[in-house]
Subunit: 349 residues, 5 copies
């Protein structure tokens, strides 16, 4: 966010860490029930896109690190610079905004990273005009392959519907993937819970902290979606999305609520992991203290007794008794047995 | 949920773990105040159901693991595929949805499992048309025997009422059973509290964790019901359920609220169990530390004294005193008594 | 609640533990400003009550363990069986319900039990018709003696008002008694706090747990009353209670809110008691650890020194020094003083 | 509150602990922009107050422990007995009530007590008629001297305004004093925080508990004021207070909100003090444990070694070696150094 | 706040700690799209400001410690004394107030202090008339240089817009700077988390406390802004700010919400730092206890054995055995190995 301090509102700055020299692939899908066209090209300075008015148009922009491109798209379709600023800002929280000509939705696409236990957070923004959907991704990788496949193979109802349904389908796909992440997180928590209640280690401790940060990050991507989805009922929005999409949107909203509830439950369990860690450790410490106490309680008095008869006084009558040694040995054994009985009774053993 | 990622919305997938080859029993009850007919059969590829327009019709489907059957039911009664998807998804949270021709309610039927301290969670869905109630269960076992009995024996007002009252009765029966579970959980908590405040063991610790997971699961089945029951007041719903059913629904809503409150109270007590466990353990540890301290405080100085006179210096005048040994013995006893008095005064004893 | 599982809604079952053979006294008060009549009898199979239309009628039923009686009352005054079911269910939470002919209020009367630190929870229900108030108690003992006295002695405004004011007076009396309980609980907490911050014992620990359960139970009786009292503003209710009663009801609502706030404050303090208990104990443990450390730190090294010169090597030059013993003694005293100084400086002493 | 149980609503009972024989001073201010009159007298059985219709009238009653007086005031100005009951009840929470002829406001005046770290809570009630303000204090001491001074010296706008502005000014003065208390509490917390993080003592622990009770009490006086101040917007109230007073009331409401926020912040910090106390203590304990461990770890093995060569076996070859003693001494020094190095490496030192 | 107790409402008192003799620079910007004038002077007793009706007027007052100046400004522009009181009170929480002729906004400008890890909180107030914006700062240093630059260089849309847009730009700049502080706090927390989970020190503990106070202070500056920004939608306010500014205000509100959310997240992490600190310390303590236990468990019994054979009884047969010594030595080694095996098995090692 630092990059942006002091700049005029609406100034376009990409806040992510992709280099501006990486090429940006653009894909333009045009389809209706009968025909289908896909036009893929790389952005170099110029942007010429021809919309097909009677078809569904989906323009997918595979990168936002080149502000030149974003500016050109903004000019071509007359998009407000505040909107463009938001979609370039990868710490933007999910939101939905209605403008006169379009609605703007931005959210986080979350997928497994190559690294174990790491997730990829990608800012994805939708600008939905009445006859065009533009999607902006941080990089060309996404979770939309099954949807592209459905478009190309004309399976399902996607080809018979308008841009609104396409938007819904894409968001639904993203939300579906949240559940994959939730399941993964759930497994990690189950795993950690097991480890932590049996044999807690320092590295588990670190992993718990790691997991908690992950859950916090996930929650911040997920929680604002509830607000976004509650706006779906808005009549202004349904105008853009199409009215027959109403039950789909309710279904989607339902999924978002479940995802949030699951996440909250995970969050609580995540918070309890640290407690569990400590309670297991303190239980173990108790064990240790018991052993220490038992050994000390038995042998410290015995050592004293032994030391007593190790004194070099000239006149110590017991030392001259014939069975003095055996008497003391018996006394010691009695002490051991007595202490053991005491511990047994106290249930420390 | 994983099974469903990337599929088109409305695709029918059963998410539970019953095998699709298990046979599904279907029961069709037709009754009015005078007559009553029960038709039970096993689903094999074909589904032919004859409704009796002037009677109450209740179609009970004893399994949802065969998507073929669900699809056929959906086609026969013109049920939206999104609804079918929800009722097949056994991680669906309880909800109520109004469609043009029917209302859809899904919730969890919870009963004792064969295993001790385990509960069976079964997804149960209601689709209520104006002259037909279809119920979908995950397996044929349910808590409805008393209701079937009342239908067959014509006892109570069930036979004189419409499908709405039947729906209410079934849900009421399910909610009644929640209280059985609550009581069971309450007993387990009482039990654990007793154990944990007297003699906490590692297995109690594990049982607390187990119980907390159970309570969390129970809460997730119970909490959304409050929302569902608050929709009962909706006039659209009362149309389907019948207006004279209003006071019954309020009663049911009351029960749901009480169940939720009881569950919340249990939840709090469950959370405190871990604390109790630790506080008892740390109280015990304190006990142990006191013993260790007392023994050490008494015998370590005495051992030193004994060691002192065990030294082999050639010139140690005390050693040659006649009553040196007895003098030292007296000194030691004084130390023991002094320390004991000190502890007494500090109330450590 | 278990007794009721699987029964048809509206089935009358008493869920308390009074035996159904105990006799139930019924009292019927009829009064207006001028005259007053009291009719007390024991219920045996028959119920014949004559209402006096121009008078205030108060029918007090001193027990609900005989479902036969309740059924008869229900029939006589045309009370819905769901209402009767609620008033028999002693785990029913406080609630207010408006029916066409009457309003139904149920709540808990709480009084001191004979046993120390135990409170008696009694389910009490009001059914207020336009010219009759019926009250149902679990047993004949109640907190209404001062009100009966005011009726009989014609003191105060009670005799000049209608059934609505009587209802208000009875509820007000019950709420007044809550404050007695709150004061008692407050004293117990003050007491425990004192004990626990000076000299915590195992039995205090148990008493804290006991108290917390008591507070939880009290809260569950008290909290729903806020909701009930908020309904007093309802115009439908004011019709039954009489409009001139408005300021009394606001006063009552005020008391209920104060009672709830006091209870919440007690609840918080109750929760902190366990913390205090542990913090006092751990402070004490710290004390103990310090003593242990000091004694060990001083005498373990000294013992070593003594042991050193207790070795039996043939050639140990120090042993033959004339003042070797005194030198070692001085060294030991220096060590004691040095360690004491170190502890003093560390402020452990 | 106990004093009142079972009495008829509206019965006047003073719940504080001032004796009813103490004399009650009454002051009657009459003023307008031009003239000013002050009439002070002691109540003895009779109450004769002459209102000056075209002037502002302020009747200040300096005590409420004489119910006779209160009853007389109630009769003279036709005040509802429920209101009188509330103003006599010094555990009444702050509230505002509108009646047909007057509004009633009661709140707590809090000031420094003579005792250190103690605050004086005084119940103060306002009854505002259209041409008279009556204030009831528990005792004659208050925080209004600056206002009396402004009335007498005709400074500021007080003399040019009506009773509504006077009421506002008095309440504003009381709220101003809350900030003095807040500041005092803040200083005490800062102080305790310092003590507790450097050198916690048992008396700090007690002071924390004391402070927490004080904060709780303060919060209970403060929190309901938010509700009271939110009613200032009510048009019925503005009628009594005068419409031009609107911006003053908003300012007052603002102060009340700030006072509440500050108090909440203090409350949180107060809660954390106990945690800090324990964390400092447990950090200290850790220190102590380290010393104990180090000394034990070094000297217990050494003592063993010394004891070994103190054994009296006839045949122990080492004892006869010429440099056996020096060899063992060197071994012991090596052990000391080795252990020290181990601790150094573990960063325990 | 103490300075103000007992004063009449609307009395002007500066509550900060700048001395009243410091000179106050005043800057008056007048600009429209074409021309631009800047007039800077120092306040000495007199204030003469000429507004340019067809231009945007921005009067920046670089200090509020001279109440004389504030009073003069108030008189010149007819500002309510309650408003002036608020802007002089540097413990005023952020708020927005609408008056007949102007709106008043006050908030906190937060910037890095010269000292490390310290932030400068400056009270800044806006009074927006229809053709004049007055800003009051506590001192002349601010974060507005980039805006002054944009005015002077005619860059961006600032010069083409009215006072409303200028106000928005200034507040937006202040909010932008909050993110700088948030980032800084985030880094400090990351840093502390690292330190505290690896090697916690007493000074980290103090730093955590420091940071928590900082976060609390920050939150109190930030949280009320949410309320302020929610008022932006008010039509009365949009009148002053200009209607075309609507989308900018929504953007600003968005930023304020994000800032609050980030701050809340930081707050939670700050709270967990103390927990982490203690958990790391208690894990370390566990380590230490283990070492102590192991050494004690091994050597205390051995010492006893050695002491046993150091006794001076005349008749101890073992002492005369030829290999008695070696037998005992072997026994001791077995004990060491046995205990080590026991620890290994218990996984304490």
């Amino acid at each position: 966010m630092n990059k942006k301090v002091g700049l005029q509102p609406g100034t376009l700055v990409y806040t992510g860490d992709r280099q501006s020299t990486i090429e940006i692939p653009i894909t333009h899908y045009t389809y209706n029930h009968e025909s289908f066209k896909k036009n893929s090209f790389i952005f170099r300075d110029n942007l010429f896109i021809e919309l097909h008015p009677s078809h569904v148009n989906w323009l997918n922009i595979g990168g936002i690190h080149n502000t030149e491109l974003i500016k050109k798209v903004g000019e071509a379709f007359n998009i407000d610079s505040l909107i463009l600023e938001d979609l370039l800002n990868n710490s933007q929280r999910p939101k939905l905004e209605i403008r006169d000509d379009y609605i703007f939705i931005t959210l986080k696409m979350i997928s497994h990273s190559n690294k174990k236990n790491k997730y990829e957070y990608e800012q994805i923004s939708f600008i939905l005009f009445s006859n065009l959907l533009i999607t902006f991704q941080e990089n060309p990788f996404d979770v939309f392959d099954s949807i592209r496949c459905r478009i190309e193979k004309r399976s399902g109802r996607l080809r018979t519907k308008k841009e609104g349904y396409l938007t819904y389908s894409l968001i639904d796909r993203i939300v579906d993937n949240y559940f994959v992440i939730i399941e993964d997180l759930e497994e990690r928590i189950d795993d950690l819970e097991d480890k932590v209640t049996t044999e807690p280690k320092k590295e588990d401790f670190d992993e718990i902290l790691e997991l908690k940060k992950e859950l916090l990050k996930f929650r911040r991507a997920l929680a604002p979606l509830k607000e976004v989805s509650s706006k779906f009922k808005d009549s202004d929005i349904q105008e853009y999305l199409g009215e027959d999409i109403d039950i789909y949107l309710r279904d989607l909203q339902d999924h978002i609520i479940i995802a949030n509830e699951s996440n909250d439950a995970l969050f609580n369990r995540g918070n309890e992991l640290l407690q569990l860690y400590h309670s297991t450790i303190s239980t173990g410490m108790n064990e240790i203290m018991k052993v220490l106490t038992m050994i000390s309680s038995i042998f410290i008095p015995l050592s004293f007794l032994a030391g007593l008869y190790g004194m070099n006084f000239q006149y110590m009558p017991e030392l001259t008794w014939k069975y003095g040694y055996f008497f003391i040995l018996s006394l010691m054994i009695s002490i051991i047995l007595g202490t053991a009985y005491f511990f047994k009774k106290k249930k420390w053993w």
